[in-house]
């Protein structure tokens, strides 16, 4: 398993780390029992993401996907931000090892939660609800990341 250079760059030099003191919306996903927790705080202006910060407890990929998603989202409309897919996050990082694909869900889910948090606290309808994988009690972050060559490996 090798991380791309871009993953390592974002892991070693994560962008936008921290918490916005005057955040308009906050999203927190993950569980320390599973080893990764992410918190995103956003400032919103004109229904665009004006500022953004993250904090992440997790592996290299969790930190790198968190970092890049903040870069991707900055300046986006709320609709655009919640539409960022885990695939886009992984592509933006130059790919992720199969075993790490679930980390990009953490990042997109955190962002979605933050946007909905902003909307709901401002009396508006949430727009991401229903698409947040971590809200699904059946959600298994590792479900999709099997190596396809192993489809028929083990009993």
């Amino acid at each position: 398993m090798l991380y791309s250079e871009k993953v390592m760059d974002h892991f070693n030099n994560p962008r936008n780390v921290g918490v916005l003191d005057d955040a308009d919306g906050i999203g927190e996903v993950g569980n320390p029992v599973c080893g990764d927790v992410m918190k995103i705080s956003i400032k919103v202006a004109d229904d665009k993401i004006d500022d953004i910060r993250f904090q992440t407890l997790g592996c290299g990929a969790a930190i790198a996907t968190s970092s890049i998603v903040t870069e991707m989202a900055r300046g986006m409309s709320l609709e655009q931000a919640v539409a960022i897919t885990k695939k886009q996050v992984a592509e933006e990082l130059g790919g992720l090892p199969p075993a790490k694909m679930h980390c990009s869900v953490l990042a997109t889910d955190g962002l979605k939660k933050a946007v909905d948090d902003y909307l709901v606290t401002h009396g508006r309808d949430p727009i991401a609800v229903g698409t947040i994988a971590h809200d699904d009690p059946e959600f298994d972050p590792h479900a999709e990341e099997h190596d396809d060559a192993c489809e028929v490996t083990e009993e």
Partner: protein, 396 residues
């Protein structure tokens, strides 16, 4: 603080010692015959192979050359022991006991046997990190065919009371296997003293080559081969033997045993320094297992509120190599089954770090690690959304 190359993961693998490589080289381009051939080149290779076997036989206290069969590593030896002994001794099913913190090379064949109709007890260690003989006694059944408990745990580094455990197993008529991949060459290992029926070894843990190991099988121990074919290794493991690798393994074993007493003391003091250095300078850190009988070379600690892979990668960026039991590093959802088995909560297991020293580790390597590690932990704790909440402050 100059950047170094501080390899502190000797429990994962070791470099091949130059003296070992030297001993291996003739067997690639000079004495390269098939040891199963009758002519001169075959006999030369056969002689080298059997000389290597005799050395291993002597080194582990076996009594007969046929008691040692060479394998492609510790994993194969473990698989062969578990499956070969069990299916041969009780083809129609029965019961096995393996400790819950065995290496996957033992656990997976145990699970395979379970799926094939055997009953398996995964015996929990005590929280201090050892298998209690009384717990084993209670787990045994009349139809228990085999007990497998590792000699030294590869993560937390605790040694197991093998002699007592083997005695308890034998009293009940069960055979006893121990995975000694981590202990061979690090603490005294003698099959007669320990009273085991079978034991597994791996070359690349003792400055020998990767892809070679050995299985000790006491004379008369029931065994069905796993790899079948030409009948090499006394019909117990077919396939043209890796003569160079086997010579390397035997040479590595000789060297590591010759240096054992002094080296074990040296490593133990490095290990102590690591544990005390980390736990005294970084808050919310503890040693993972308290059992006092332990491998001299493995330090294992919980760094609360940090994820292991992130630590590992940051240390790597500083030239330090360690390992971790976090789920992320293994590509699985669960953190180390070893830590969970001794009652470590998953959120702490994700933050475990194993620092293991070896032949080429210097005090400077250790001091360097102790210097670069605290700021890494601090940085990661500061980046965590939970640390300040849970522990008050992220500073160390």
């Amino acid at each position: 603080m100059e950047a170094r190359d501080a390899y502190l993961d000797y429990a994962a693998t070791t470099p091949v010692d130059e003296r070992v490589l030297e001993a291996m080289l003739p067997y690639y381009t000079q004495v390269w015959g098939n040891p199963n051939s009758l002519y001169r080149r075959g006999r030369e290779a056969y002689t080298a192979l059997e000389a290597a076997r005799e050395r291993v036989v002597g080194a582990i206290g076996a009594t007969h050359p046929n008691e040692v069969i060479f394998t492609a590593g510790g994993t194969e030896a473990d698989n062969a022991a578990l499956i070969g002994i069990t299916t041969r001794a009780r083809p129609d099913g029965g019961h096995l006991v393996v400790s819950a913190f065995e290496h996957h090379a033992v656990l997976e064949p145990a699970q395979f046997l379970e799926k094939s109709g055997y009953a398996v007890t995964y015996l929990a260690p005590r929280p201090a990190g050892y298998i209690d003989p009384e717990d084993l006694r209670n787990a045994l059944r009349d139809d228990t065919v085999l007990v497998s408990v590792m000699h030294g745990n590869n993560e937390i580094g605790t040694l197991q009371p093998i002699r007592e455990l083997a005695e308890v197993a034998h009293e009940r008529g069960a055979l006893f296997h121990t995975d000694a991949a981590q202990t061979l060459g690090k603490v005294p290992f003698n099959v007669a003293d320990l009273g085991v029926d079978a034991a597994s070894f791996s070359g690349h843990k003792i400055y020998g080559p990767k892809g070679v190991g050995a299985l000790y099988l006491k004379r008369g121990t029931p065994f069905a081969p796993m790899v079948r074919g030409g009948g090499q290794e006394f019909k117990k493991r077919s396939g043209t033997q890796n003569v160079a690798g086997i010579v390397g393994f035997a040479t590595a074993l000789d060297l590591v045993l010759a240096e054992l007493p002094e080296e074990a003391a040296r490593l133990a003091s490095l290990r102590e320094r690591i544990v005390s250095g980390v736990t005294s300078t970084i808050e919310n850190t503890i040693e993972s297992a308290s059992y006092p009988e332990r491998l001299p070379n493995i330090a294992h600690m919980i760094i609360k509120g940090v994820e292991g892979e992130a630590m590992l990668l940051q240390l790597d960026a500083k030239g330090v190599a360690v390992s971790t039991g976090s789920a992320c590093s293994s590509g699985s959802l669960e953190p180390s089954h070893v830590l969970l088995s001794i009652g470590c909560p998953p959120e702490l297991a994700h933050g475990s770090v194993r620092v293991s020293v070896g032949r080429f580790t210097t005090a400077e390597d250790v001091e360097y690690f102790l210097e670069v590690f605290p700021p890494i932990v601090e940085r990661l704790r500061m980046m965590s959304p939970l640390y300040a909440k849970m522990y008050g402050s992220a500073t160390t």
